[in-house]
Symmetry: C2
Subunit: 458 residues, 2 copies
């Protein structure tokens, strides 16, 4: 074990240089222009698994982007771990806000700046490099391991559920490990035990056939921009409460114990505002900030557009307006059921003078697991050794659809050992990975393999 | 006179071919990329004036796009007419809705499809060709004429007022003629006697520094898209009434006589809806459609955007959102005063958790003139001869800033002899000019020169 940890420390420079190659591939899953990059990225990963010493590797095509799989099953009698990660990344717009190019990884003051440096390529890399360290120093791992790295996490993992369902035997494991979440703060390892789900929609509002001259028509016809603003404001009240009838019916409230534990966590609202340049906080009345982010559902307008948005002025009444609207869901809300409630409500609130089209783009179920589960406890001990400090248990506001899928189809628990940081700028310009954290994370994962080998999962 | 009219009829093909050249120049005034095209277009027009036989022609540079001027003063003792037009055109987005390319004029079923075919290049052409017809057949015009063709009408004519002010002597005339408005319907010549003004603004709403991950932050911070929707909905109530305090204070109401005349005009709401693909009409309560468009001020969101608006989904809370908002003004509202009222109101309604920046982009005063004025009556007789039917007097919902400027600085009345049609698609994709209307329009303008020569303006 000692030798493996020393190997990790000594090889940091090489690890980072290899990671830079991985980060240079613009694997943006939502843009058809990047299809070849997606394939290149999958090939790069498969080659990497071969180099590390996996016994079997394979690229599985899907209806979308390919899935990379590898396994090392040289520890008979020991538990089997399924590592899940994703090699696809978010779009990079607005490009002009990046200080260095998103696909030209740049190191500055102890951080690598690049799209995907944290979400999730950098964290995939820690896991692969921990495996490599075992295989290169000991010739074996203390557990059996399977890795499943997909290319559609940022677009809702729409082919993953089918894939897992039809490869149940191949993927059979005792537990899963995922590194795709942030720590609560720098130096404080945090184990996620609950995730929010997601339901993502596009609304298209149409008035006339064509854009109309606002001089010749202004005052006599509905403006789809107004109608859209009206619809948007009908979705949440001034106190931040979502107005879709039945929306909160399935929400499991936080227990008193959970509320007490949450209130003990280090969280400084002032610092939170300062870090993200938010003038003040705003959210559902009656809840604290962490409760709002972790345990309450929410509804956001992720994007909207209508009419002329270029430089200068154009006097049109647009023919149509569009909004991207997503909801974060909490246990036990179901995205498909929520979609139904939303659709019914939209029919009621859409002004009769426009036509509305609602499209369900993607979604994922929320998830929660008991913190006393042996796999979660193995993660706790591993993080404690890796960072030299007592980890905390947290929820996560984001969505990782695969976690709920793994629970449902493979019936296995998941340990969420996230190595992101609150200021990593995931999904935003200037995404960055802290190099010290990369090292501690890799060491913690190596410890986890060891701790997991003696735990009795399930 | 007969010879002149015959010349117009005989030369239609050549007129149209020349017009196509004019329409091929992409003179989009709001886009810096088209700066060279703007200069080319001004040169093309100056050459045209020389070819027609103007005695003097000149291109005047401005801080924006150049102004083309020409004069023929060979009718001493006769009145002098100032013709105003513009050679700049609106942007062409969304390009995918055009059936033929906007700057490749295409004739289909008696219409020329091209950006600017009606607004205003096609109508400028009718006037120049009526002048040509006189000079080529009679060697003279029955009046003195000055032409002033600018390149910034579609971006608010921001340099025109100064130009007219500093060239008062050069532009001195007895009346002005403008062809830049639509007829009420095909075959019914319509003389405009009032125009709405304009005040155009851009609002920028900012929340955080950067876009935020909607999973990690959703529910805890304000979303600028919501804040913008909130601001937009605070501007007009559900009955279409603008909520800016003091906004209606200076509005001159329609007289009972005007309301009666308006109600006699042929206007079919059902056809209006069908023509423009509007499901139903919507506007300020207590007013009929024509009253809403012609004589009531309005407020429109010409464009809005915020966050991710590409293909697929991206889970962000945007850092900022933007809206282009314009108001159509009626006599005696003043755009600068309205801007002040708007700014004061915005300060009150902007949610405290976002920052708002308001920018006044451009504007123009509303205008009204008595229909018994001799110049207006000359236009009436000319249209009657040109179309063989009794013209109607109409207002116009659009803005032509120059009309108010001419009244104020040169103290002259304006005859609005618009040859556009309600379905010309001005400012929209597939803008088109009706060829039959082009001919009748040119003939009517030739009659106007004759009628104007015997009227006693002012």
């Amino acid at each position: 074990m000692e030798e493996t940890l020393t190997y990790i420390s000594k090889n940091q420079n090489r690890y980072i240089n290899e990671l830079k190659q991985f980060l240079s591939i613009p694997s943006i899953s939502n843009d058809p222009k990047n299809q070849a990059d997606m394939r290149n990225c999958a090939n790069f990963l498969r080659d990497q698994l071969n180099d590390i010493g996996f016994q079997q590797t394979k690229i599985f095509p899907t209806n979308g982007h390919p899935i990379v799989f590898g396994e090392w099953l040289g520890a008979p009698g020991k538990p089997t771990l399924l590592f899940y990660g994703h090699y696809d990344v978010q779009p990079v717009e607005p490009l002009e806000l990046w200080k260095s190019k998103p696909f030209e990884p740049t190191i500055h003051q102890g951080e690598i700046y690049a799209r995907g440096s944290v979400d999730d390529k950098g964290q995939v890399w820690m896991n692969l490099k921990a495996i490599e360290a075992y295989l290169k120093t000991q010739g074996s791992l203390p557990i059996n391991i399977k890795v499943l790295i997909e290319g559609e996490e940022e677009v809702g993992s729409s082919n993953l559920e089918n894939f897992i369902y039809s490869h149940k035997e191949m993927l059979k494991s005792d537990a899963a490990l995922i590194s795709d979440t942030p720590m609560l703060k720098h130096g404080l390892p945090s184990i996620g035990y609950a995730l929010r789900g997601l339901a993502y929609f596009q609304l298209d509002v149409t008035g006339s056939h064509d854009d109309l001259h606002s001089g010749s028509f202004g005052g006599a016809v509905i403006n789809p921009n107004f109608a859209l603003a009206q619809i948007i404001l009908s979705l949440k009240d001034a106190k931040g409460r979502i107005l879709i009838p039945g929306f909160y019916d399935d929400v499991v409230p936080l227990t008193t114990q959970e509320k007490i534990e949450m209130s003990k966590l280090p969280f400084n609202e002032e610092k939170f505002c300062k870090d993200f340049g938010v003038p003040t906080l705003f959210g559902e009345q009656g809840y604290k900030t962490l409760e709002r982010i972790w345990a309450r559902p929410t509804l956001e307008v992720n994007g909207m557009s209508g009419g002329f948005i270029g430089e200068g002025s154009k006097t049109v009444i647009p023919a149509c307006a569009m909004a991207k609207i997503s909801m974060r869901l909490v246990p036990n809300q179901d995205p498909k059921h929520v979609a139904k409630l939303f659709e019914n409500y939209l029919q009621k609130i859409t002004p009769p003078s426009v036509k509305l089209k609602m499209k369900y783009l993607n979604g994922g179920k929320p998830w929660v697991t008991p913190i006393h589960h042996p796999t979660i406890q193995a993660a706790f001990r591993a993080f404690k050794k890796g960072y030299g400090t007592t980890p905390v248990f947290i929820r996560e506001g984001g969505s990782i659809p695969v976690v709920a899928i793994l629970a449902e189809i493979l019936d296995i628990p998941t340990a969420l050992m996230g190595i992101g940081l609150p200021d990593s700028n995931t999904h935003a310009p200037n995404e960055k990975l802290n190099l010290a954290n990369f090292k501690h994370g890799t060491i913690s994962i190596a410890h986890f393999f060891d701790e997991f080998s003696t735990s009795i999962p399930n």
